[in-house]
Symmetry: C2
Subunit: 229 residues, 2 copies
DNA sequence: CGAGGTATTGACGGCTCTCAAGTCTGGTGG
DNA sequence: CCACCAGACTTGAGAGCCGTCAATACCTCG
């Protein structure tokens, strides 16, 4: 999928070089401003980063580990909106309150940036303003792609999820998932049983292998992509 | 839902003639710039406004009528991302290409604004820059809400859809839907048969009445809200 | 080695899709 | 003004996919 590329590229994971379709320098210089304002903070497994409805004081960039954003419906079900991997930014809305919650998935380190500082900077530096807009638009595109997933079959959802994670992580065929089956289920709008059964089906079909439950090897990407959008 | 309110307010509801917010109100000067750049264009029923993958030259604001954005999956299914009613803006992404298609639902009039002009203006006028960001963030929030719909039951999806349309249209109990059952189905990730059956169920349960197939009366909002998020 | 959380597997049921009639509605032309 | 037609909508019957409930296996950490 395109959006993950865009997001990763634009935010420039320190380890990854930049390549992008927006202006080559505007993203980078804005980003350096972003990083200059940030303070690293550590979080433990399942620790809350912010809660639904809380004032949106900060914006976050993952340094190491991973985070999830989610919303709990009135019937108790949890929908995960997104997973955030190193280099990616979250918590950036326009209102003064978050409209979802965020947690660290495992032991993680985040760069924490004061929202007001970013916005103040955007008033004078239009590169920062453009960065805020770009980040929000990339998030929009990501959510739109995610929405398309939710109307597909279980096999298609899981296959797309694996391909997406492979692209965003090492871009190797071996994926070490930071999240549990329950997280995957809540991200894809399925149950853990269906996730588990589907992974078994894909393994039986020789599209993947699952050496341990957190490690998945894509042995036949073409078979997976056949299920893709 | 909050976002529709925010969006409507920000863009000036059609009940107020568009020309009025060119008034030198400093808080809305960004919008007046937006409107000053726009040219009204007429579209006929089902006419394409832009196609998936086309260069994103323009941004659109509905004056009268309604529009839908959608994406066609490789299996031929169509997912409608959003409906746009008078006063609402669409077509605003950050890349230089649209990543979905847009059509007029019925005979419609749109204000068409050159994207490059908006972006150029944002370089010097940070209120315009803030407007672009705000519009994008509101769209993001709308899509996030939409995503939550797609994991719910058919009854809940239809009930939420009706409440949403009621809020965005007259905010009366009588809704005149601009779109067909097929449009609703593709918006909610259901089939037309399920839409039809669900409306019948809601009517039987005395939550709504359906005098004609495009007109729906909310006779018991509390019953509908019980199915809400 | 034991315990508790996590993941897998199985049986069954329900919700929604599919396929297939019917019915209504809105627009057109006589 | 009315009859007619095509598309849109409704309703029904059956099937399939996924959710639920339950039991078992696995893995991690004390």
């Amino acid at each position: 999928m395109l959006m993950q590329n865009a997001q990763t590229i634009s935010l420039s994971h320190p380890a990854k070089p930049l390549r992008q379709w927006t202006a080559p320098d505007s993203g980078r210089s804005g980003l350096s401003a972003f990083e200059a304002l940030g303070v690293p903070v550590s979080y433990t497994r399942n620790e809350e980063i912010f809660g639904d409805g809380e004032p949106a004081e900060y914006v976050y960039q993952v340094v190491s580990g991973a985070a999830r954003t989610y919303k709990v419906l009135n019937d108790g079900r949890r929908q995960i909106g997104a997973f955030y991997l190193p280099g990616e930014v979250f918590g950036l809305g326009v209102g003064d309150a978050h409209h979802y919650s965020a947690e660290a998935i495992g032991k993680s380190s985040l760069l924490v940036v004061k929202r007001s500082a970013l916005i103040a900077l955007a008033e004078t530096d239009h590169k920062v303003a453009h960065l805020l807009w770009t980040l929000t638009a990339q998030e929009l595109q990501r959510v739109q792609e995610h929405m398309l997933l939710l109307i597909r079959s279980a096999q298609e959802r899981v296959a797309c999820f694996l391909l997406e994670m492979a692209e965003r992580m090492a871009e190797a065929d071996v994926i070490d998932l930071p999240m549990s089956r329950q997280d995957i289920a809540d991200y894809l709008g399925l149950t853990i049983e269906t996730i588990s059964r589907t992974l078994t089906q894909l393994e039986t079909a020789a599209a993947i292998s699952v050496p341990t439950c957190r490690r998945i090897v894509l042995t036949n990407r073409k078979a997976l992509k056949r299920l893709h959008a």
